[in-house]
């Protein structure tokens, strides 16, 4: 545990890209929505999830060489990075839930904006929003980590093969006609699927980093 905390602290030596920067485009999109006084969801919150994917990729791939040079093992680096990502997802999920509550209480910030309420997904009680946001952000961070490690270990060609393999798997899944099962799951059901995927992503990333050389 101590070594995981050290890795988390290593990442927090430069916290901006993890803590503040992901919120900057969200704030910008929110400001744009406010100016437009739009009554529909702008989808700007999606940017935060994309930023988590990018952060996971960068932290696992780019920060690995220095981490290993400073005495971390791959195992502790991976676990510490994942721990930090999940912890930030937990807090950011709470922030989303809080902002959603404020948005609901103020009638969309007094402008009828539905920025932090996403129909079907993030529109329930605060704890549902918190859970769904937390799991979604964690899943994308873990997914990004796996991409970063694949890139580190096998380079661009490996990355292309990795994406192609997933594309094929998705195609097979779509051709079996199962996607319809997902649409009927609802927000909590999809949260459960995202949680299961998080476990798969974390296991895949861990298996990939075990023999990664720097």
């Amino acid at each position: 545990m101590n070594s995981m905390i050290k890795v988390a602290r290593y990442h927090l030596a430069q916290p901006a890209m993890l803590l503040w920067v992901p919120w900057a485009p969200v704030a910008g999109t929110f400001a744009f929505s406010a100016i437009r006084q739009g009554a529909v969801s702008s989808g700007g919150l999606v940017i935060l999830f994309v930023m988590f994917f990018v952060a996971g990729w960068q932290r696992a791939g780019r920060w690995l060489p220095l981490g290993l040079a400073l005495g971390a093992t791959r195992r502790s680096f991976y676990a510490g990075t994942a721990l930090l990502g999940v912890s930030i997802a937990l807090v950011d999920g709470l922030v989303i839930a809080g902002l959603q509550s404020v948005e609901r209480a103020t009638g969309g910030w007094g402008l009828s904006i539905t920025f932090f309420r996403v129909p079907e997904m993030l529109n329930g009680p605060w704890y549902d929003t918190w859970l769904t946001s937390f799991v979604g952000l964690s899943a994308l961070f873990a997914y990004g980590m796996w991409f970063g490690i694949v890139n580190r270990r096998w380079g661009v060609l490996g990355l292309i093969a990795f994406i192609a393999a997933q594309f094929l798997a998705g195609l097979v899944y779509a051709l079996t006609g199962r996607p319809g099962n997902l649409t009927g799951l609802g927000a909590l059901g999809l949260t459960g699927v995202a949680a299961a995927l998080t476990v798969v992503f974390l296991a895949g990333g861990h298996a990939t980093i075990r023999r990664a050389a720097v």
Binding site: R62, P65, A69
Partner: protein, 306 residues
């Protein structure tokens, strides 16, 4: 006593290339060892394996008696400073500063000396607020050296740490390394091409060639172990007769020979009377001979490579 580093039968193969070939090596604790060899000799691969950054194809590696790969108890006592150290300063992190790297290192090493780090930065003229991306090659090297020394890790591995540093900065590195090593002894393995410049630091010298150890001896033992004898050809022949000689050259009536073995006081007198010049080989010249091909440094290699 357990050696700091013990390597036996270490082999690392890459497709179409063998970087390390059945390498055997022991490094005593509390010494500064020079790791020498030409490009591609296997120095960096060896250091990466010692630091757990690369995996061996076969063989055994022990640091303080335990394998380093994925071993936190070993790795937290070890730091590797690489010439090509990658920092998280890509496009995503253009604001990654020297201070971030130093702060990260301070979390990792219990013996981290912040004062030493600050004074090294000052000596190298490096500002902590500078982004790593904006550093010159030499400044990046200075940052690596600062981390390597201030970490005060029990095993400190330097892989060509001063690429791009000017002569003054390199002198600072040598002086500060020696000064800090005297106060806080630890095991230092320093890979370098600037052999004669760094020779004064070494307790032990290890030379690699084509992934094998071709020379492993105490630095004091090496100094004066090989001598160039030059003068009249007949006198050179007479003086070197019966002694192992690596190389002979003749030009007209003059000759020179690279002779293995210490020269006693009596023999020095004899050389003088024969009109011969005696000049000890430098470490750089020794390495040139040791890596000139199989058997080039025969007698010395056999004496020391066991």
């Amino acid at each position: 006593m357990t050696p700091a580093i013990a390597v036996t039968g270490l082999t690392r193969r890459y497709p179409g290339h063998v970087a390390l070939d059945d390498l055997r090596l022991t490094v005593g604790a509390g010494t500064i060892t020079g790791l020498l060899g030409r490009n591609g000799a296997g120095k960096t691969t060896l250091l990466r394996i010692l630091a757990g950054q690369e995996f061996p194809s076969s063989g055994s590696v022990r640091v303080f008696g335990s394998p380093p790969a994925e071993n936190g108890s070993v790795l937290r006592r070890l730091v590797l400073v690489r010439e090509d150290q990658e920092y998280p300063d890509s496009q995503g992190y253009p604001s990654f500063k020297a201070s971030h790297a130093l702060r990260a290192a301070s979390f990792s090493y219990p013996n981290w000396d912040a004062d030493l780090a600050s004074s090294l930065l000052a000596d190298f003229g490096l500002r902590a607020k500078q982004t790593v991306r904006s550093l010159s090659r030499g400044q990046r090297s200075a940052l690596g050296i600062t981390i390597g020394l201030a970490a005060r890790a029990d095993v400190t591995l330097f892989d060509e740490p001063y690429a791009g540093l000017d002569a003054v900065a390199r002198r600072i590195f040598y002086d500060r390394l020696l000064e800090d090593f005297t106060l806080n002894p630890r095991t230092v393995l320093l890979s370098t091409h600037l052999i004669d410049e760094a020779a004064g630091l070494f307790d032990q010298v290890v030379m690699l060639d084509r992934g094998r150890v071709v020379l492993n001896a105490a630095a004091d033992e090496l100094r004066g172990m090989v001598t160039t004898v030059s003068g009249p050809a007949l006198a050179v022949h007479a003086f070197t007769e019966g002694r192992p000689v690596w190389e002979r050259r003749e030009l007209g009536s003059q000759a020179s020979a690279v002779m293995v073995g210490r020269v006693s006081g009596d023999n020095r007198e004899r050389a003088r009377s024969l009109g011969l010049d005696l000049a000890p080989l430098s470490l750089q010249q020794l390495m040139d001979h040791a890596s000139a091909g199989p058997g080039a440094a025969g007698p010395l290699m056999m004496r020391n490579s066991a």
